[in-house]
Symmetry: C2
Subunit: 159 residues, 2 copies
Amino acid sequence: MKFLEDIRIGDIDALGSHVFTAEGIKSFATRFDPQLFHTDDDAAARSSFGALCASGWHTVSQWMRCLVDHRRLADEAQRARGEPVAKNGPSPGIRDLKWLKPVYAGDTIAFASEVVETRDLPHRPGWGLVTMRNTGTNQHGDLVLSFTGSEFIERHPQD
Amino acid sequence: MKFLEDIRIGDIDALGSHVFTAEGIKSFATRFDPQLFHTDDDAAARSSFGALCASGWHTVSQWMRCLVDHRRLADEAQRARGEPVAKNGPSPGIRDLKWLKPVYAGDTIAFASEVVETRDLPHRPGWGLVTMRNTGTNQHGDLVLSFTGSEFIERHPQD
């Protein structure tokens, strides 16, 4: 994690990508979203989606996994260079979560996070609020997922 | 599913509840949100949460599971009474998703959905848009999850 002062509006982090397999789609959906177009190939083929597709909650949970993995690697690289690593606080929330196109079995979704606002918090010394627009894009270049999230990010200790 | 005309602002569906076990919290987090306060009891005890707690994406995915189960039972009851069942379309999205308090291992979360708006869609005959405020509440009566979602709901075929 970067400190607040090192984060700029327009910064984009590519968070990596994930291939949604039929097996992964079904195992998520069996536990959390057992609608037939997420769990059964034949029923999905007859549905308005036309083929097995991922639960929207699966897609966004996979975004989270890519974010956590990306940050872990970034933190390790910062520590390896002897740089301090900023802390972050729990997210105050998510706005405007949209599933714009279905994610089908076999699709590769690339996730990204773009900084759209940084804000000082006069009532919370040592911290700022960073707002990001998060996206998932499939192998055809179609946006499949979009949402805005904020989180508290530590300021440089010396400031 | 009820048809659009049978849905009233203020209608509340109790969607059932779920006990978040340590095992369930860890299995979700290992796959989708492997931060130590979601995967490791000792590290969680030392974190600002103070104990193992569920990923926010796990909490909201469990809401989805309760919704799907609730609707399946409601549809079966409607069919058993010989009543037709309305179709619904994909959700255009989610607004203002907030995780208001941590969900700890052992917590029982009751999920509910309240109709806050119903709207005709002049450009989409046969369908309306229903907006719901969705919540999760723990065994102490604390709100832990809140978000607003919309979905397309079929009108009565005879209208």
